[in-house]
């Protein structure tokens, strides 16, 4: 596969990220519970896709498989035609750091770190201690710029416990974006927010998709939120029941 740095940044409708007949089951004691049953899904570069479905239908699992947080029992995950799910763990870790950005329902910020340090974490992981230390000023400026865009520049030194839910989610988005990912994977990003704040977050994601061509795969069970995407994928009992273009 080509180096992750050689992946073109152009916006295209050509299949960019693809799930090929993937199945995944979890063990509950002796019993195997199938979550995904042969899912095929193709996401183009710069697309905003919503995956909707009831709780337990496998939408989060699908997102985790796309983001290399998990590996399928059968099937393949491909990035630009290259299979990525069977790569060595270290390469998958690196891909996750460089290609994917994650936003979770419960924000998942590190409670010991300030907002700024939380945002900088992906860069700390990506670079060696020496490299990071050498370029710390540049990274800090980069982080401050993103945080400012998110309207959180007054909260740089605050810890997550001192932020509101909306602020934490914006901080999580800033953290996901600092590494300039190709794909943003959002798992119920508004699930823990009130309607107004949820709308703000969705507007922000829509802007990122439109203005910066960021590919977004969003998992949600809220139809109104899902409709903000270009395409909606309906998942029922581990199978895709329908694909529809949003209005």
């Amino acid at each position: 596969m080509p180096s992750i740095l050689q992946i073109p940044n152009s916006k295209t409708r050509v299949s960019y990220l693809r799930a090929l007949a993937i199945s995944r089951a979890y063990s509950k004691g002796q019993v195997k519970v199938p979550v995904l049953r042969g899912v095929d899904l193709c996401v183009g570069r710069g697309e905003f896709v919503s995956i909707v479905g009831k709780s337990g239908c496998g939408k989060s699992t699908l997102m985790h498989l796309f983001g290399l947080l998990d590996t399928p029992d059968t099937g393949e995950v491909r990035l630009e035609q290259n299979r990525i799910d069977d790569l060595p763990a270290a390469t998958r870790d690196e891909l996750r750091n460089r290609i994917f950005g994650f936003v979770f329902q419960f924000y998942h910020l590190l409670p010991e770190l300030t907002l700024l340090d939380n945002v900088l974490t992906p860069l700390m992981i990506r670079y060696s201690a020496w490299e990071y230390w050498r370029r710390r000023k540049e990274f800090r400026e980069q982080a401050c710029e993103i945080v400012k865009k998110m309207g959180l520049d007054h909260r740089l030194r605050h810890r997550p416990s001192e932020l509101s839910g909306g602020e934490m989610q914006r901080a999580a988005i800033a953290r996901a974006l600092i590494g300039q990912p190709e794909v943003l994977l959002a798992d119920e990003p508004t699930g823990n927010l009130d309607a107004v704040t949820g709308r703000e977050i969705m507007d922000m994601m829509a802007r990122l998709n439109e203005d910066e061509g960021l590919t977004i795969i969003m998992v949600t069970h809220d139809e109104s939120i899902a409709r903000q995407a270009n395409r909606i994928v309906r998942l029922t009992e581990g199978r895709i029941q329908g694909l529809e273009e949003a209005a």
Binding site: L110, L113, P122, M124, A129
Partner: protein, 530 residues
Amino acid sequence: MYKLLLATKYLKTRVIAFVSIISVTLGVATMIVVNSVMAGFQTEMQDRLRGLLSDVAVMTHDTDGFEDPDKLMKIIHECQYVEATTPTHEMWGMMSFRVMGQEEQRPVRIIGILPEGKNQVSPLAKYLLSRQDKDLSNRDQVPEVDLNAPVTWDLSATALGVRKDKIAYDLLRNSETVPDGSGSASQVASEAPLTRTADSGEGPLFDNPDEFRIEDPNEFQADATPIDPTIPQPARVFVGSGLVSSPVPNRETGEIEVRAFINPGEDITLTTLKSGTPQPVSFKATVVDLFKCGMSEYDSNLVFVNLEQMQKARGTLTPPDPKHPNDNLDWKTGSVTAIQIKLTDYSKAKLVVEYLRERLAGMHVSVETWEQQQGPLLQAVEVERAILNVLLFLIIAVAGFGILAIFYMIVVEKTRDIGILKALGASSRGVMSIFLLYGLTLGLVGSLAGVMLGLTFVRYIDSIEECISMVLGRKVFDETIYYFHQVPTKVNPGTVIWVALGAIAIAVLASILPARRAAQLHPVQALRYE
């Protein structure tokens, strides 16, 4: 970078980490304090054991000793590492003296020495109480002797004064005891010398000639000129302080003080055996000084007497002039039981011993270093130290298991954070590094604090001991029981470094299992962890 940042943050923000640090700190501090005290104790013990022993001793198995010691010493001096030698004549005996009108006896080991020679092979001078800063509490004499002055049998002016006062006091007490005065003369006679030889100007050799069998009646054929009891005996002794002192509580302060019942200038009686046939022989001797080396084995057993007088008492030395039995005595014509040797380089002691054993093979003598003579005691201290170290190491190992348990708790607590880090691209090795680094930082901080605490404790151990004694209401380190006035300590930098490194290693080892567990966590399961 995130590893260091998170390890530091976890260390700063978690109370439980603070608890781990305290356990490491206390473990390290305890190890340092105990090791320092044990090392100090061992060094002091060795110093004191060696203090009165020479580097090497050539000893005869014959209690009568060997003749012609000068010849033996010349042979010994042929060895290139021998710096000085001195002869001694040792024999068991009994020391008796009067305290508050009562006769007291002590079993002793009487050693005839040449004082300056003895001082050359082992520093006797520094243990003489008149030359020590810390004196027995009721001895109000100020050291009047130059600390570096040669050791002689001369009595100090203070000792002579004490002698006169003592004799005057005894006379007065005896006259009060017997109002008519008729018995005073005999009583004085029993405590003071009866006669003196006409020419020597010194007191007689025997206290009460009728009490013991006299081998050489010539000694007592001198004219019975009335004597001056203030003149010291020809036999002079350095007496171990433990033989003539005891701890007594001070009525005013309540503190335990060591009081001597015999002071320099006073007389004691020594009884030993004649050579050849085992017959008792007794002679009076004037105490020149007391010594205290801190080893009760020596302080409560040894009496050093002039070699010639010892030889004469045991009958191995015949006075050249029977009419003046204490004149022109030459120890070389008597026998000695040992030759004490001082080496130029103690590291060559084994070579010297081997050489002398070979050289003196036909003489029925044993040659031993001071360590061989005191082997069991030194070994006991060494074994004690080793066992204590093992026990303390077990304590630190327990602390290590504590750290392990705490780390497991932290890993469980941080499960979701581990999931987040993995989602952000952290590798399993990276996650493991966080916890290993955490353990390392914890060990480093704990060890550093432990080293500082331990060294501070050692530095102020006497003040701390006083405080604890004050709180408990009794002495923790009682100098009347132990050998030392202060808690002996010796900080060995090598030991401190090893202890600190050991604690760091334990902290890192204890963090390996939790770190591995953290590294093996599945990111999805970790993210879903509640």
